[in-house]
Symmetry: C2
DNA sequence: AACGCTAATCTAAACGTTTCGATCATGTCA
DNA sequence: TGACATGATCGAAACGTTTAGATTAGCGTT
């Protein structure tokens, strides 16, 4: 900018005024300055600007795994929304790892991001401290945590799983395996609660042996399914609480020589774009990814626009059960259907 | 830092020296300073540091679509690599849109990213200018462009498609539909060349009606497939040059009342993590996503480490044909197989 | 002619770091 | 004792912006 000012024989203040339109500058100088800008190929340095202004027009976004299609879609939507609003997005993947997440958030805050969208990992204790210290608005995505009182967008997980399990029960299933993700994040609690509630409502017992835990990865779903399938009295249906794990479930079923849905029914949380065309066509709980991403972006953009003092807003969206053909009717129901 | 210095009754220079270890500071002062840092909860401001140092320890990464599993995987690998190296990643999705891409790259450069990894869109003219102006190292990913002489990581696309088409020909297919992405990026040229080469090698004619173009999206694959399937003499096999489009292909096949592989064989570029378990199990050309991401990251990290003047390096990796069961043998071959 | 008003422009401080060179105390050696 | 090297610390400039307040010129009023 200094060079531009010299070339145009004006002060830097005038150049700044012209660029930002913060003051009127005469046509004559305007022209000289614009010419100089072109000649020199001047580009405003956003870092210097950020330092002075105290805002970077950048937000931080952390997700556990970007390869999980749910997060991929949400990230994509969020990225677009902020792009439109003139913000850049710094993306971090925590790989479900607590320390990584905390480090990354600190890193983002050091870089003066104007806001954060966090699909968190682990208990919220450290997250809470970080967020309290930092003076930037935070939106929690998918996963809330107790004690962190801030904007959030979540799904009605309990209801969604309740619907799915009830659907299986209505089909005649009585022993329904359930593969949960680690219990330290809120959705896993709520989803489990939905499972239990559905069993209870139907008057079915909650058998501990039917519940397995994994750490969200395909291999965890594989191992959990192997265990379920080698039970003495094996389940007739399996529900997987996240979608990378269901791939593992399908692999285990194949490896053990069974087939879905003939021998065992499968449903899972989170939809796939290809579920309609590849067989078995998975019955899933679809999350409204577009809406989730947009709402999260809007909440944050609203705070960034200055609405700092409004009380925390928690948006709860509804999942949708996508019934396809990976679950088959059982017993009396199957007979009445085939009759 | 000023507050810390005051609290510790030292100068800011000393605080800086301690934090960065750039000079020895006495145990006594060290202790006072560390105490002050803790008391105040001081965090170094990375923006001010960037301004002074001329480096942000941030890189820019632009990809066409993050929802394309190929890019998702590559982004994930790159993100991890830079995370390990202490860099942040600014992610941009260009949505295959030229202006968006150029704007985003300019935005990234304004923010003083230390380097760029670009899976580009459009012809390289503007990209070239931007890259030449900018004084940062650039690595091209997946897509090179003429005239932009810089580090690059690409696949041997021609060879990979040649192998896949030859495989189909060996199965007895003679009329093989080919669905290409837009022709303005290098891989689409090379893949088409592989298709043509395979036909020619086998002495088959190149029939223009068998070649269709789409813009990388599922719907484009759907439309292209619809056109191919309504040909008077329809192809017995279809190869889709990218993976979102193949979903459209499968949908079109289903909607038209055919089934794969019984009525028509399908193969495509880019693998899916679930291809092994869902039917039809797609035969694909798998790209070594891990290697691609790592190599791209390494090329850039090497430049960032100071190796600026080395000549441009272009790494070409090999694809791998994953033969599954979405393509069936035809004619004489089929009979000898079933005999 | 003196005054005040407005519009255009400029000067200089500030944002929070890093770093060069200066300063100063201390110990060593001739 | 004086000269000098060493090590620790500090002062101040610089990075490239923004912006408050000062300055200046031009013009209309009285």
């Amino acid at each position: 900018m200094l060079h531009v000012a010299e070339a145009a024989r004006v002060s830097v203040a005038t150049v700044s005024a012209l660029i930002n339109g913060t003051a009127t500058v005469s046509p004559e100088l305007s022209q000289r300055i614009e010419q100089a800008i072109r000649d020199i190929g001047y580009k405003r340095n956003a870092i210097a600007r950020s330092l002075k202004m105290g805002t970077t027009r950048t937000i931080g976004l952390t997700v556990p795994h970007i390869t999980n299609p749910f997060f991929t879609d949400v990230v994509s939507v969020i990225q677009q929304a902020f792009d439109r609003a003139g913000y850049a997005v710094m993306l971090c993947c925590t790989d479900e790892h607590l320390n990584t997440q905390d480090d990354q958030i600190r890193l983002l805050l050091d870089r003066m991001v104007d806001g954060l969208i966090v699909a968190r990992v682990g208990d919220g204790a450290i997250l809470k401290r970080i967020v309290d210290d930092a003076n930037v608005p935070v939106v929690l995505l998918d996963r809330v945590c107790q004690g962190v009182d801030t904007d959030a967008v979540v799904l009605d997980n309990q209801r969604a799983v309740f619907d799915a399990i009830t659907y299986l029960i209505d089909l005649g299933h009585r022993r329904i395996g359930y593969i949960s993700g680690s219990f330290d994040i809120s959705p896993m609690h709520d989803r489990m609660a939905g499972y239990r509630e559905a069993l209870q409502t139907a008057g079915l017992p909650a058998e501990p042996e039917l519940v397995r835990f994994g750490n969200f990865h395909e291999v965890d779903g594989y191992n959990a399914t192997m265990q379920l399938l080698s039970l003495h009295d094996r389940p007739s249906a399996i529900f997987s609480a996240n979608n990378p794990m269901v791939i593992g479930t399908m692999k285990a079923i194949r490896d053990i020589g069974l087939s879905c849905p003939e021998d065992i029914s499968v449903a899972c949380f989170d939809d796939f774009p290809w579920s309609d065309v590849f067989r078995p066509q998975l019955t899933t709980v679809a999350q409204p990814v577009q809406a989730i991403g947009e709402q999260a972006a809007n909440l944050l953009l609203d705070r960034l626009a200055g609405n700092r003092d409004a009380p925390p807003r928690k948006l709860t969206l509804k999942g949708r059960l996508m019934i396809r053909n990976s679950c088959r009717p059982l017993g009396a129901i199957a007979q009445s259907v085939s009759a």
